[in-house]
Amino acid sequence: MAETTSQIDRIAARAAKATPVAVASRVRGLSDKAIAWLFIGPTIVLLLAINIFPLIWTVYLSFTDYKANRLTRPAEFIGLRNYERVLTDSDIWHTLQVTARFLCWTMALQVILGFGLAWLINKQFKGHGFWTTVILLPMMLSPAVVGNFWTFLYQPQIGLFNYAISFFTGIPPSSFQMIGDVNLAPWAIVIVDTWMWTPYIMLIVLAGLRSIPDYIYEAAEVDRASQWRQFWSITVPMVLPFLMLAVLFRAIENFKMFDLVVELTSGGPGSVTELASINLKREAFEKWRTGYSSAFAIILFVTVFGAASIYVKALNAVKQR
């Protein structure tokens, strides 16, 4: 009893103390507002210093003819000339085309495989948890290290990939080069990317499938809707927002794709697998055309940002239905 009273006393004393705001903040430490800014501040400062400041610098450089390997020569302002050059450069259009094809094929394959796998795993057979984890492994690993090892698997004579293809089809293993052949190299990178990232789509679609309550299917069954009908009018529409989100994240990542493909083909043979990021690296760090590559970087960023914003609008429209 005595304890309760003392507690009430304490609360009362505190309440009394808390009334004038200025006093309260001094007695109780920092105000909420101060804490909020104290907590968010460092993050914002770090992002401003290491993300926004460089971005602004890139914008500035894109209007100059600066070359980072010539320290003594001052940068000269040349207006929009870099942008004009980038947009009329046939190499840039080629690289964008390579990126677009890579994006289309990887997304198509990964959506089909990822959806299919998620649908099968959702049948809840014995041991599905274990097999799911096994399938998930590649996407967590270092793309550069794994991509480098795939060049070994793709070796014409000794590679395991070529051996497996010849084992099942009878084509001699040394008769084709996945990485050295102009026609096959684009597929070589699509295959590895699909191997690596299908589980990503699968995992998100699986979450979508599990979010569909059983009673919807039960109601459909009562209405004698066929399995086919149930799939197209319940499963697909309800999973679509999840699938679209997965594709958004993957598409952004694949648009920026660098590590995996650099280690696999470094853009070759010729430039048939030269994705936008690889081209950018060449221009910026091998040819040292800093101004020019900055302009290209800004164009790429605006493209991703714009496309993502439009896509998110579509995604929200689908969610609202």
Partner: protein
């Protein structure tokens, strides 16, 4: 599995399950083959690793691992005969190939760089991320949604595009090829993930706990440290692992901004060269040592994986 009876219409038939099992296991097997191949190649001799047809059964050796950690020079048999008997098993192994160990390779140092930079940036991003996430979760912050989106949008920039000015900036302030420079850079990349994930985790902790603590006389800061942090421990741990995996795997910045002192393992492993081309067992040994921690983390993390890879947008 939900509460369905054996006759439920939702429960798939036995045959459906069998086919599903078969297809999923087949896919898992195909998925795992390249990874198993890395593991196996690490224990092969160089001739075994490049034999045709590929060898599945072979005599395991640690030669790949020895080659990974050492540099060796080839010697004449006459010189070899003058040497005292080998002191260690790895000396013996190297000498059986007519070579002597010249010294340690750079792999150990590169691996340590990965550890230092990985843990340093993980600590920093989780520390800053937890503070920011708490503030975003609990307080009225002006332009909250815009700030959150701004934090996320820093991820949309291709790393190479950011690397150009970072390269110039680091060159000016003397941060190029330093551990600190890489830690700060990886923290800046990771912080968006940390804030988004942790905000989700903290949002799930009922506000009533803190309010009770405040009434008990705790200050905001005390309530945060003594009530919220322990509640968020699992979320913080999961976020930390995601940040660590990112820093561990990162390649583009490491390739462009480091060359020696602070170079991490991913750009280094592909450059491991042996006599007459790539020493695949040594490369595979390096890859194995580098990938195993992540495999362990993935298994530990599987319940939170979905959240982590979608920035907290999808939760189970």
């Amino acid at each position: 599995m939900s509460a369905t009876t054996a006759h439920s219409v939702v429960e798939p038939s036995r045959w459906t399950k069998r086919i599903a099992t078969l297809v999923v296991i087949l896919y898992a097997a195909i998925t795992i083959v390249p990874l198993v191949w890395i593991l196996m190649t690490g224990f092969k001799t160089p001739p075994d690793s490049i034999s045709y047809p590929p060898k599945v059964v072979f005599e395991p050796t640690l030669e790949g691992y020895v080659n990974l950690f050492t540099t060796r020079t080839r010697q004449t048999p006459e010189y070899m005969a003058t040497l005292p008997p080998p002191e260690t098993w790895y000396d013996e192994l190297v000498r059986s190939r007519d070579m002597v160990i010249a010294g340690p390779s750079r792999f150990g140092q590169r691996f340590m760089n990965s550890v230092i930079i990985g843990f340093g940036s993980t600590f920093l991003s989780v520390f800053l991320g937890t503070l920011a996430a708490y503030a975003f979760s609990r307080f009225k912050v002006p332009l909250k949604d815009d700030l959150m989106f701004f934090i996320l949008s820093t991820r949309m920039m291709p790393p190479i595009a950011v690397a150009i000015p970072i390269f110039l900036m680091y060159r000016t302030v003397g941060l190029s090829d330093t551990h600190l420079g890489m830690i700060l850079l990886y923290t800046a990349v990771n912080i968006s993930l940390a804030v988004w994930l942790l905000k989700g985790f903290i949002d799930e902790i009922p506000r009533e706990y803190e309010e009770a603590a405040l009434i008990d006389g705790y200050t905001r800061l005390q309530a945060f440290i003594k009530v919220v942090l322990p509640q968020a421990a699992t979320g913080i741990a999961a976020t930390a692992i995601f940040c660590l995996i990112f820093s561990w795997n990162e390649y583009a910045f490491a390739l462009l901004l480091t060359s020696g002192t602070a170079q991490t393992a991913p750009p280094f492993i592909p450059t491991i060269i042996g006599e007459g081309g790539l020493d695949w067992p040594a490369v595979a040994a390096g890859a194995t040592l580098f990938l195993i921690p992540i495999v362990v983390f993935t298994i530990l993390l599987r319940k939170h994986l979905l959240r982590g890879i979608t920035f907290g947008a999808v939760r189970k």
